[in-house]
């Protein structure tokens, strides 16, 4: 829990919103847990995000967004994220332990 908070703090600083169009990543990331689990370790058929490689998460989100990776719902969601948000989410989840 403590680690989570500290990491969220670091991420918020490291990926400070570039513009008003880019959401505060710590809040945006918290909404992912609605499906991916409170600790982002997955649920049922939904994969975990915790501790995945930063580059892997970013690449997958970009692939969902661009349509090169097929999906049921993540393609629809990823289209709503800016590139800065994708970078921030990737850093956030890669640092979760």
């Amino acid at each position: 829990m403590k680690i989570h908070i500290i990491v969220a703090g670091i991420v918020a600083l490291a990926v400070a919103p570039a513009s008003a169009q880019t959401a505060d990543v710590s809040i945006l990331a918290s909404t992912c847990s609605g499906c991916h689990g409170a600790n982002a370790d997955g649920s049922g058929g939904i994969p975990g995000l915790k501790g995945q490689q930063q580059a892997y998460i970013a690449d997958q989100l970009k692939a969902f967004k661009g349509g090169s990776r097929p999906a049921t719902v993540m393609n629809r969601l990823a289209k709503g994220y800016t590139d800065e948000e994708i970078a921030g989410l990737a850093l956030h989840f890669s640092r979760l332990k």
């Binding site: 829990m1 169009q21 959401a23 609605g34 499906c35 939904i46 969601l77 709503g80």
Partner: protein
């Protein structure tokens, strides 16, 4: 109120947290007090995230019920797919997380004195208040449909005993009977909910009482995920379901619970074997009594913080809010609770919150191995307020492989486990 000065407290807290560079509140003597009214999706999420953001915070959750029955997945209980126990949750883990859970009803909000009066008489002072009151049903909006009528014609729009009542009525319905639903006009809790319920009812009837029919009398012209639901109904339950929109005299204006009849705007009377009446709704009583709701009966909020636009210092989240284009869904309430928690903590620290992004993901089961979804990304844009991000989100495609429908039913179950685990686990 205790003796300490609020201004001094905020200045001190902001200074301390800036000094250590962490999003935590260090108070010296007194921890700030945040009261959360309502232990559903909005309130339970807010309480958990307040405590996560700031473990020292003094968080009290006021909720009359000892167990919470989720509206999501209650349609599966009606269809016989799940038991009520499987969608019921206690508050033990919230208490273990350091949240003071008070099982009482909030009788009044005295916002000038910054305290909540409980029905049991106790006073809860607060520095910030979050209200997640859910919905109340507008008794009498449909002539003859009051609280007593609901014991004969269940609404089942608040999960629990009403859910079980509707299930029992379905079980004792004769084969060849007519199930009638009255569906409300917008806005109302869970836009796709009535149609998921119709799907669950049809799945049960097809298996157990195949000569039965389902009639949906609707007070609107179209509904959430409509083409997807109607495609599924035609495929899975051919000839069983008839949907009548308002323009074809679908609006129910009067009911006779003893005769089990419902009457529409232009005087058609339908006799039901089982009648499920979902009446118009508004924000829960405590919000309406406390000046948090406007003339529409719903609560206007500032989407950057979910602070009430009518009463400063109080945040409102969940189905009670006017947060369009966000739907009145459990996932939306959960997202809003996270924003409200972050906003309340930031405000206590005298800080501003960063730009807001939120998500909604909502699944509906329509049959075995067959679910459909809608997903949305929202953000708050200066001058425009809360918007859905253009060219994102949307429903599952109409033309799709069976495997994807099956996957969505698997993901729906994963979603339910995740979101309830985050709040109550």
């Amino acid at each position: 109120m205790t003796g300490f000065s609020r201004r001094r407290f905020i200045a001190g807290a902001a200074g301390a947290s800036a000094a250590i560079g962490m999003p935590q509140i260090a108070y010296g003597q007194a921890a700030a007090r945040v009261v959360v009214i309502g232990g559903g999706f909005g309130g339970a999420t807010t309480a958990r995230f307040l405590k996560k953001a700031s473990p020292q915070l003094n968080v009290t959750l006021v909720e009359p019920n000892r167990r919470f029955v989720t509206c999501p997945y209650s349609n599966l209980v009606i269809g016989g797919w799940r038991k009520l126990d499987q969608i019921s949750f206690g508050y033990d883990r919230l208490a273990k997380a350091g949240i003071a859970v008070v099982h009482d009803t909030a009788a009044a909000i005295e916002h000038d004195r910054k305290r909540v009066r409980l029905a049991g008489g106790r006073m809860l002072p607060y520095d910030r208040l979050i209200v997640s009151p859910g919905i109340d049903l507008r008794w009498g909006a449909i002539a003859g449909y009051d609280e007593k009528a609901a014991s004969l014609m269940p609404h089942a729009w608040k999960a629990g005993e009403q859910t079980l009542l509707l299930r029992r009525q379905l079980e004792s319905m004769p084969d060849g009977g007519l199930f009638v639903m009255a569906a409300p006009a917008n806005p109302f809790r869970c836009p796709p909910g009535p149609y998921e319920r119709i799907s669950m009812v049809a799945s049960y009837l097809k298996q157990s009482k195949p000569r039965s029919k389902v009639l949906v009398l609707d007070a609107k012209e179209n509904f959430s995920k409509q083409p997807l639901f109607q495609d599924a109904w035609a495929k899975l339950y051919p000839g069983m379901i008839e949907w009548v929109p308002v323009g074809k005299d679908g609006k129910v204006v009067k009911v006779d619970p003893k005769a089990k009849t419902v009457e529409t705007e232009f005087g058609q009377v339908h006799k039901a074997a089982v009648a499920n009446v979902i009446p118009p709704q508004f924000a829960g009583k405590i919000a309406r009594d406390s000046g948090l709701a406007d003339q529409s009966g719903w609560c206007p909020i500032d989407p950057t913080s979910f602070e009430s636009r009518l009463v400063k210092g109080i945040h409102v989240v969940g189905d009670a809010t006017i947060a369009a284009p966000m739907p009145k869904s459990g996932f939306a309430a959960n997202s809003q609770g996270k924003v409200a928690a972050a906003a309340a903590v930031a405000m206590l620290q005298g800080k501003a919150l960063g730009p807001i992004g939120m998500v909604n993901t909502c699944y509906s089961h329509v049959g075995k191995d067959y679910a459909i979804s809608v997903a949305n990304v929202f953000r708050v844009v200066p001058d425009r307020g809360l918007i859905e991000v253009p060219d994102s989100g949307g429903t599952s495609p109409r033309q799709w492989e069976d495997e994807n429908r099956r996957l969505e039913s698997v993901y729906a179950d994963g979603w339910y486990a995740s979101i309830t685990g985050e709040m109550f686990g």
